[in-house]
């Protein structure tokens, strides 16, 4: 069944305010029940029903895979739904209007912050870049927005919060924003106008932009959020299964403290290796989280893991190929270099601070 067909069949929310809240609370209760039952369910199926040995590595691997697949899917549904709903009050058009009058410096800070709350997909990086520049937003400020948007990822925030607590999450958000602000500012200082494809400056805006966030009803926003959950899950499930599979294998078969021995905080190359693996790796924040979790269990330090995660989500080959249409190779190289350096610094800083 196509996405459109599914959407047409989504039930409409009840008309009354009370009915709507009942419907949404009902959905929340079902979610909570499934989330609570998940572990017991797999314990029962694997150990009870199938009589598998809980201590064997194979059982542990299968248990991790099954449990994490359900848990992460549930978390994704909740996070994507909530974030899409909240973000439906914001739009790229509003962000551009806010940034239009801002100078560099303050502009970079505001742009990075807006990069986190604006509903934006890297697949629209090219029209957004042209649109911002055509509206007079400085290039460095535009880049701060484009760096922060994938770097401080809402799915990563939600997952880190549930798996590692608020401290690690706060570190991730603050350092991610800092990298976007500083990297955008530095790139702006380099006088990068000459490294932007000339057609960008020749683009003039005709007609008035429509604000997609305007005039949406509560019902529309709930529908859009459900739509987004379905569309993202449909897109990322292969990455998710591969990521959880790798996490399960690490969980079951890598000896405890393996990484403390070979890539612990004392290993000066750890972060560099993690970032060089992470940059070419293309995955989704949700897909790498099970691996991050399993690697942390086996003694890999948090700074190295944060750096790995940031390099996967912030720098991806498909986005670079898209951005190449507006940025010349020199600027693209500077962009990757500055962001990667920032991520490496964050990794070492936190390995030093958290140990």
């Amino acid at each position: 069944m196509s996405a459109m067909a599914v959407l047409e069949h989504l039930p409409h929310l009840p008309e009354t305010r009370r009915g709507r809240w009942l419907a949404l609370s009902g959905a929340a209760l079902v979610w909570l029940g499934l989330y609570q039952l998940n572990e017991h369910l797999w314990d029962w199926i694997l150990y009870g029903l199938l009589g598998m040995d809980p201590a064997s590595r194979t059982t542990e691997t299968i248990h991790f895979f099954a449990y994490d697949t359900v848990k992460i899917t549930l978390l994704l549904v909740l996070i994507i739904f909530a974030v899409t709903f909240l973000r439906s009050y914001m739009s790229v058009e509003r962000t551009r209007a806010i940034l239009g009058g801002k100078r560099e410096g303050v502009g970079n800070v505001v742009a990075a912050g807006l990069g986190v709350v604006t509903p934006f997909c890297s697949c629209s990086a090219v029209p957004a870049f042209i649109g911002f520049v055509a509206a007079g937003v400085p290039i460095g400020v535009t880049l701060s927005f484009l760096i922060a948007s994938p770097m401080v990822n809402e799915i990563a925030i939600g997952m880190l919060l549930t798996l590692f607590g608020w401290k690690v999450t706060a570190v991730y958000v603050v350092t991610g924003l800092a990298i976007a602000i500083v990297a955008g500012w530095i790139l702006g200082r380099l006088g990068v106008q000459r490294w932007v494809e000339p057609f960008v400056f020749e683009t003039t805006l005709r007609g008035k932009a429509i604000d997609p966030a305007a005039g949406l009803s509560f019902d529309d926003r709930v529908h859009m959020s459900a739509e987004e959950v379905a569309s993202i899950l449909r897109r990322i499930w292969p990455y998710l299964l591969v990521g959880i599979g790798l996490g399960a294998v690490i969980h079951g078969w890598v000896p405890t403290d393996f990484f403390t021995t070979y890539a612990g905080p004392g290993n000066s190359l750890g972060v560099l290796v993690a970032v060089s693996i992470g940059i070419p790796l293309y995955s989704n924040a949700a897909g790498i989280m099970p691996m991050v979790q399993a690697l942390y269990e086996k003694g890999l330090p948090m700074g190295t893991l944060l750096a790995f995660m940031m390099s996967v989500v912030a720098l991806s080959l498909p986005e670079m190929i898209l951005l190449r249409r507006v940025l010349k190779p020199q600027l693209l190289a500077a962009y990757i270099g500055v962001v990667a350096t920032g991520i490496v610094i964050v990794g070492y800083l936190f390995n030093a601070l958290l140990t």
Partner: protein, 79 residues
């Protein structure tokens, strides 16, 4: 009626084109279709989130794939 789909060839852009073609057929309208993939041209429409739908030189929708009903309503308004 002149219909333009603005989008870089992403899955959602193709979904939008499909939904719009179906809506045009369902309403029995005559329309020419154009799929704009050139980033400069997309941006010049003021669109920053693809896919977007342009009917008779007016951006009517941007950043999402609408339901078939929504497209029909948009087409009827301008038909």
């Amino acid at each position: 009626m002149d219909v333009k789909i603005l989008g870089s060839g992403c899955a959602n852009c193709n979904n939008l084109e499909k939904a719009t073609r179906e809506a045009v057929d369902a309403l029995g309208l005559e329309a020419t279709f154009d799929h704009v993939t050139e980033p400069g041209e997309i941006a010049s429409w003021g669109v920053m989130k693809t896919p977007a739908l342009v009917i008779d030189d007016e951006v009517v929708l941007s950043g999402r794939v609408p339901t078939a009903e929504t497209v029909k309503a948009l087409l009827r308004d301008r038909g």
